[in-house]
């Protein structure tokens, strides 16, 4: 490792509309170093990176590259100075080809005309280098899978000859073998002396890759540590200020469970085959399975969002058949979707509007709504879900992931559901807020709601569920008791029986 830092950031402060989100953060990066940045959502990681990328100008503080003071008026200037960023949310144009995306804003020209051949040739070479053969430089990005788009992002950053590369949650959307491929790529870049800032929630990745780790909390620097001198327990402690033991609320008692609220028999759709299950009042039933095993499809079919081919659904013993989600909502179902931003929230609308969105569509307005018993005011909903926000009029997009999820929950609480289906309830939510969501789910169950919870995080499933159903290729592969082991779940989910293993 060389002596002089490649990048130094000192005392960076930044405010948005009067709220300071970075309180004087220091950070330095050496050439050939992988420097991880960890912290809860809302800790200021992304804002700090956007300052480095020239997207936001800092209010105070200095940045130096190779000891020379710099300031960026525009992302273009940051690129020119050798800063490349792979953002958490993809920055690609779906209607343009891979080559056009890689070279956007810096198209090579020959005699004043864009040199398409060169663009495609160079992109193909870069794709070759990362071992990508699944698509070519002329493919439209909109036709690529999420993992392939990630590769395009990395190729794009790489084509800049960036000496400082920021990877913001690069593995969030990748499957395991793709993660390995990414690690190989990151290490190769490291050997070339490129300094990388690696932002991730996944501590395992951080320990596998990083030389040093910086912990941010609430917009301030907590500590920068050498990876060899710390462990994950200490990191989590620094991130949330507490140990992780009291993570899950206590499970329900079997005696407390009521009658069967949701009963599904022989459900088949284009992707599901003969799925039967039941959930009792007060019970949390976890649904495990690999990506593509049909978990989300199951939830959508029950909720009336996808058509059923065969099978019956009973709510509180009454057979029902939902042709639309609206019918399901009216019958007392709630569905907290996997992707909050696309399916769960109207981001540009206020907290109050979002909370009342579902109830407004099923309960007639005006006086009748006000006289409907049990409806809570926005203030009561906020209190019930422990929402932290500036006020009911704040736009939802300015909230952190955890608080956004609480708004989604509040929206469904207001419809007084009998059955709630959660699809990845804590995806992309930081550790502290996760516990809050878990408490809420358990509280709802205790009040008599039947909960079906889909999750990819096995500790969460095991910690929360009273029973666990495992799906495999569109069928129910088996059922496990509350204290199942991760390995048991994985055996069922991957289609291996106990004997075969």
């Amino acid at each position: 490792m060389s002596e002089a830092p490649l990048l130094e950031m000192e005392g960076i402060r930044k405010s948005f509309v009067g709220v300071e989100v970075l309180h004087g953060v220091d950070l330095d990066l050496r050439a050939g170093e992988i420097h991880a940045i960890v912290g809860e959502n809302g800790a200021g990681k992304s804002t700090l990176m956007k300052v480095l990328a020239g997207v936001h100008a800092p209010d105070e503080g200095t940045m130096r590259i190779d000891g020379e003071e710099i300031s960026f008026a525009h992302p273009h200037a940051a690129q020119a100075a050798g800063v490349g960023i792979v953002y958490q949310e993809f920055n690609l144009l779906p209607d343009r080809t891979v080559a056009e995306n890689v070279f956007v804003g810096r198209e090579p020209t020959a005699r004043g005309v864009v040199d398409r051949r060169r663009m495609e040739r160079e992109t193909a070479a870069l794709l070759d280098e990362v071992g990508e053969t699944g698509f070519g430089s002329r493919t439209l990005v909109g036709r690529l899978s999420v993992a392939q788009q990630q590769v395009v992002e990395i190729v794009k950053a790489r084509s800049l000859n960036a000496r400082i590369l920021v990877l913001d949650e690069p593995t969030a959307a990748l499957a395991d073998h793709e993660v390995e491929l990414l690690f190989g790529l990151v290490r190769r870049l490291q050997e070339r002396g490129i300094g990388m800032l690696y932002i991730s929630h996944r501590l395992r990745e951080v320990f596998a890759l990083a030389d040093r780790i910086t912990v941010l909390k609430d917009g301030g620097l907590v500590k920068t540590l050498a990876t060899s001198q710390t462990d994950s327990r200490e990191l989590v402690h620094l991130m949330v200020g507490r140990e992780l033991d009291a993570y899950y609320p206590p499970r329900g008692e079997t005696d407390d469970f009521g009658d069967v609220r949701l009963k599904v028999t022989g459900l088949s759709t284009s992707l599901l085959r003969d799925v039967s299950l039941q959930v009792r009042a007060g019970e949390i039933v976890g649904v495990a399975g690999l990506q593509g095993s049909g978990r989300t499809e199951l939830a959508r079919a029950i909720f009336g969002a996808d058509p059923m081919k065969a099978g019956t659904i009973e709510i509180d013993g009454r057979p029902v058949r939902f042709r639309t989600p609206r019918a399901a909502v009216r019958a007392g179902l709630g569905f907290i979707t996997e992707d909050r931003k696309i399916e769960g929230l109207a981001l540009a609308q206020s907290i109050a509007d979002n909370m009342l969105l579902a109830v407004r569509t099923v309960v007639p307005g005006g006086r009748r709504r006000r006289s409907t018993p049990g409806l809570m005011s926005v203030k009561e909903l906020a209190a019930a879900t422990d929402l932290r926000a500036r006020g009911p009029e704040q736009e939802v997009r300015f909230l952190s992931g955890g608080n956004q999820q609480k708004v989604v929950l509040a929206k469904w609480l207001e419809t007084q559901p009998q059955v709630l289906i959660f699809d990845e309830p804590t995806r992309g939510i930081d550790v502290g807020a996760k516990a809050g969501i878990h408490d809420l789910i358990r509280k709802l169950a205790r009040e008599g709601v039947a909960v079906l919870m889909i999750s990819s995080e096995l500790p969460e499933l095991i910690g929360m569920s009273d029973r666990i159903l495992v799906m495999h290729e569109g069928t129910l592969a088996g059922e496990l008791p509350a204290d199942a082991r991760e390995s048991d779940i994985m055996h069922l989910a991957t289609g291996h029986t106990e004997a075969a293993a």
Binding site: P75, V114, K156
Partner: protein
């Protein structure tokens, strides 16, 4: 750990096809192809209907006439294509056309010697209007719809205050441009084709053109990729207003003088947007092209001509045009969804 050995797995990426195959591929991929198919369909249908009614549609005169009437709308729409592709919109083109015709004819005042300075003045004013539109949209962050609607009102106020009827006159050399033929085709058709070719080249082969697609596709993505998005949007607006000014000059040459109402009466603001959308360009930007717009303009011209031939009630004409535009966009939406 997946180990990728570049030597062993280096399957060369598929060679880009050349020659006829490349043509076929780009033809299939081009968003303009279905629009031309629709144009042919509309044309044949119109021919059939007119012929059944005992009229004559496919005469040289009629076709040339349709082409000629497409010139003005075609030039404005080419400019409109650029701003719409960039994710913007220009509602001020109709008033810009009127202003250009008045300024141009007024400055020329029938004198040959004044032609070049007059054209220069008009184009400068056009560029200025486009610059203001672009600056208001990017720097003041006014929605393009409102910004250019405001500009249209401002221009209208200036025009109504200063002129109340035909004004100025164009010298013979300019007037004859509107009527001279080159072979069987009027010169003005070549002007339209030249403008469309220039815009096509701009979009396909220049960095500016690539940037227009990128900014229209997603402005934030473009900005984060280091693109100066404001320059792109402003540039598109300048060219759009320039082409509107050129249209005004062309119409002045056809009419022999400038008139305050030539733009709005031709409906060039909404018609140009209709032509662009009919041509398969996404109203939100980022997808489409000028060749489709040209086909859209021709489709509107064929409809016009057919209705004239059949002497259809003017209101019914508008109803049919409305239905066709909506139907076209609905079809594109389905195609996009099916992908």
């Amino acid at each position: 750990m997946t180990v990728v050995d570049p030597e062993s797995t280096a399957t060369p990426p598929p060679e880009p096809p050349r020659g006829v195959a490349a043509w076929r591929e780009s033809l299939r991929a081009s968003p303009a192809t279905p629009v031309y198919a629709a144009l042919v369909g509309v044309f044949l249908l119109a021919w059939l209907i007119v012929a059944l009614r005992g009229g004559s549609f496919l005469t040289l005169d009629n076709v040339v006439n349709m082409l000629q009437r497409s010139v003005a709308l075609g030039i404005v729409s080419a400019g409109q294509t650029l701003v719409i592709l960039a994710g913007s919109l220009d509602l001020s083109v109709a008033q810009m056309i009127s202003l250009a015709s008045l300024l141009g004819a007024g400055q020329m005042d029938g004198q040959e010697a004044n032609v070049v300075p007059a054209i220069a003045l008009v184009l400068a004013v056009g560029a200025g209007v486009g610059l203001v539109n672009g600056l208001v949209i990017t720097k003041l962050r006014v929605n393009a719809f409102i910004a250019t609607l405001g500009m249209a009102l401002i221009l209208k106020g200036i025009i109504d205050n200063r002129w109340d009827g035909p004004y100025g006159s164009v010298p013979d050399s300019v007037e004859s441009f509107g009527y001279t033929r080159f072979g069987i085709l009027p010169m003005s058709v070549f002007l339209l084709l030249a403008v469309v070719a220039a815009v096509w080249f701009l979009l396909r082969y220049t960095r500016f053109g690539h940037h227009i697609y990128a900014v229209g596709g997603d402005e934030e993505v473009s900005r984060l990729s280091g693109l100066r998005t404001h320059r792109t949007i402003i540039g598109a607006h300048i060219i759009c207003s320039l082409l509107a000014a050129l249209t005004g000059l062309f119409l002045a040459s056809r009419l022999g003088a400038g008139t305050p109402t030539v733009g709005p009466e031709g409906g060039y603001d909404l018609e140009s947007i209709a032509a662009v959308v009919l041509g398969g360009t996404a109203l939100m930007g980022g997808r489409g092209g000028v060749l489709g717009t040209l086909a859209g303009v021709f489709i509107l011209a064929v409809l016009d001509s057919t209705f004239n031939e059949l002497q259809v009630n003017a209101f019914l004409k508008d109803v049919v045009r409305g239905v066709i535009i909506i139907a076209a966009v609905a079809v594109y939406a389905r195609r996009k969804g099916a992908e």
